[in-house]
Amino acid sequence: MKLSEAWRLSKTCYREMVYRSLAEERGRMWWGAFGRNRQGKESQDDLELTNRALRIAKFDKAVVAFFNVVVSLAPFASLFLGSPGFGLTSAISLSLAVTFGFTALYAIQTLSSFMSPESSALMSTMPLNRDEFSLITLFSFIRSFDYMVIGSIISQVMLVAYLTASPVATLIMFAASTVNALFAVAVALWFSRIFQRNMLRGGRSKANTVLRLLFILMWGLLLVAVGFLFSIPWYIVPNLQSTLLSAAHLWNSLLDLLYPFSTGIVITASVSNVTFTTLLVASAAMVGYAFLAVFAGKWSLGMVRAVSQGVGVNITRVTAKDFSVNPRGPLLGYVAKDLKVASRNPATAFFFALPVLETVIIILLDSNMGTLRTALVLSGTSLGAIFALLLPLALLSAEGKGLEYTKTLPISSRRIVVPKALVSTATFVPVPIALATLSLFKPLTSPASLFIPFLIVLPVASASIFEIKLFLRTAAKGKIASVLNDAEKLTVGVVVILIPEVAYAVGFLATFNHAFSLLAMSAVAFAEFAVAFFVLRRS
C-alpha cells in the first residue's frame, strides 16, 4: 500500500476518534436536560455537533500548532536580541526541548480517545494485512497532532537554514526535528500504556489501592515534569552554551552526549569552530539518537498495532473473595464515584496532581524572598485557585456516557453539583496549608495575610458552583458551545476568585491597614458564597 493511500484512509479512523470523544462529551450536553431531554432536537443536534466538533478539532489543531511554532522559534529570538551567553547551540537545544515537551503533552491528552480498539474496529474488518492496518492506525493517531509536528519541523529547519546558510546544517536540523517528533510520540504512547496497564488492573486489595493512588500522583507529576520542559530549559540551557562547546572536562563531554545538546553542537560545528573532541562526542551521540529514533518509531508502530487490535494491555482478573458493597449515602457515594472515574482517565487524572503543582509553584515563587510578602501570598493563592477551577469542568467531562445511567437514578442535579464543587475545593486546600507552613520559616509582612488563602477557599467553592451551574444553564438551552467551549465558564470562575482579592487590594490602598482589608475581603467572599448557596438551593 502506498503511503499516500494509507494517509488518505487514516482520515476515516481519525474522524471516528474525534466522534468518539464527542460521544463521551454528549453526556455533558445532557446535563442541562437532567431527568428529561428533547430527543427530537437532540438527534438534529447530533449531526450539527459532529460537524462542529470536527471543525473545532481542526481549529484546535491549528491553534496548538501555531503556539508550538511560536515556542519552537522563541529561543532563536534571543540570537537576534543579542542575549549574553545565548548561542546557536543553546537555541537549537532549547527549541527541540520545548517542542518535544509540548508535542508529548498534547499527544498524551489526545491519546485517551485513541487507546481503544473500538476506534479502529471498522478498519480491522477490512481486507488489510497487519502492516497496512498498523500504518493506517498510526497515521490516524498522527493526524491528531500533524499540524504541530509539521509546523515545528518547517519552522526549525527554515530558521536554521536562514541563520547558517548551510545545506548540511539544514539537513541535520531536518533529521533532528523528525527524530524529536518520533521521540515525543513514543514517550506519549509509553505514558498512556503505563496508565492503561495500571488502571485496568483488577483486584481491590489495600496494596492495590495504595499502588493505584501512588500511580495517579506519579502520573500527575510526570505530566507536570513534561510541562516543565517549557520553562526549565529557559533557565538552564543558556548558561550551558560555553560549557557545551568546551571540551575542558569530562563533565562537558558528558553533556555533549545528552539529547538535545548533541544536535545543537553538531549543527553549530557546521558553521563555526568547535573542538574536535566535542564534535566527535556530539556526532556519535546524534547517530546513536538516530538509531534510537528508528527503534522508537518501530516500537510505536508495534504499540499502535497492539492497541488497535486490543492486545496492548493485559487484563488481570482477580477472583473476588466476597461480594460486599458499602452504600455511603448520595453525597459521599457521588464524591467517591467522581474521584474514581476522574482519576482513572489519563486526561483528567492529571488534575489530581494540581495541588502538588500549586504547592511547588508557590514554594518556587517564594524561594528567593526573605519575607513572605502579602502580594506574593495573593498571587500564589490566585494561581492555586485558578488551577483548582479547571477541575469542575474536568469532572463534568469525566462523567461521559455514564451520565445516561445516572439520569435514571433518583437524584437531583443539585445533589450532583455539590460533590463536584467539594472535590474541586478540596484540591485547593493544600495551598493555604503550604503557605501556612512556609510562614513558620519566613516572616510575614502582616499576620493578617496568612488568612487570605484560607478565606479564598470560599470563593473557590462559589466559583466551582457557578461554573457548573453556568454549564447547566447553557446546556439546558441546547447551546452546543456549552459542551465544546469552556472559556466562558472559566472566565466567570476566575472573576469570582479575583473579586475578593481586588477588595483586599482596594481596601489596603484606601487604608493601608491589613486587618481592614481582610475584613473587606471576608465580606465579599461570604457574599459570593451566599449567592452561590442561593443559586444552588434554587436548582
Partner: protein, 272 residues
Amino acid sequence: MQRKFGFGSEPLIEISALTKQFGSVQALSDVNLRVMPGEVYGLLGPNGAGKTTTIKTILGLLEPTSGWIKVVGLDPAKNPIEVKSKIGYVAENPIVYDSLSTRDFLEFVASIRKTEKASTNELVAQLASAFDMAQYFDSPIATLSLGMKQKVALIASLIHQPAVLLLDEPLNGLDAKSSRIVKELVGFHAEKGGAVLFSTHIMEVAQQVCTRIGIIYQGKVIAEGTLDELRGKTEGSGGTLEEVFLKLTHEESEVADTMRMLREAFFKNEAK
C-alpha cells in the same frame, strides 16, 4: 405466596393517550396501557416501533407531547425523583461507568438509592453468585463483555428491590444460563406483586416470560392481551406468536415478497 409490595388492584404503570413527537416524526401515537401488580407485560414490536421511547417516557427521561403517565400513582414529570426511586431499569445497551469496577458501580448505585447495607449485601451476593461474577466483580467494567455488562446492569436494577421493573431487551448478550436466570427473576418479581414491563422483539422470549403482551407498531399499540387472546384476534393464524405478530402488523405478505426477491437476487449472483 405472600405479596411483598401489597399494591392491591391499582395499576403500577398506567399510560393514557400518550403521544410523543420528535420534530416531524410521530414516535408514539395514542398509547394506552396498564400494568397491574403481579403482571409481566411484554411490549413487543419491530425495531423503531416505539418500545424504547415508551420506556424512557415512563422513566421520565422523555417528556410526553400529550397524554399522561402514572407510575405507582405518581406522575414522572411532576415527581421524577420519587418515580425513579420506585423503578429498576435496564437499558437496551448497558451504559454504565466503564472505568469503575462492578463493585464500585454497585456501591455508587446503592449509595444514591440509599439502600440498607445488610439487605443490599445479601441481595448482591446472591445475584453475583448466580451470574458467576466472582472473577469480574473487581475488574473495570470496560474490560467486561456485553453479556457481563448486562449482568451488572441487571443487578443494579434490582439492588433497591423496586416495585416496577422496566427491562428494555434485557437478554441482550446473555448466555443461556443467565437468560434463564433473568426470566426466572422476572417471574419472582411478579410473584411478589411487582410489575414488569418487558420490551423485546424476540417472540419466543415474550411467549415464555410475559403474562400479557402489547404489540406496538409504528408508535401505536395495535393489539393487547394474552397469547390466546391475540390468537383469537387473528383469523387463521398459526400457533406461534411470530405468526400472530406478522398477521397483526400486516407484515406477513410483505415478508414473503421480500424473501422471494432476496432469494432471486442471492442465487442470480451465484449463477454468474
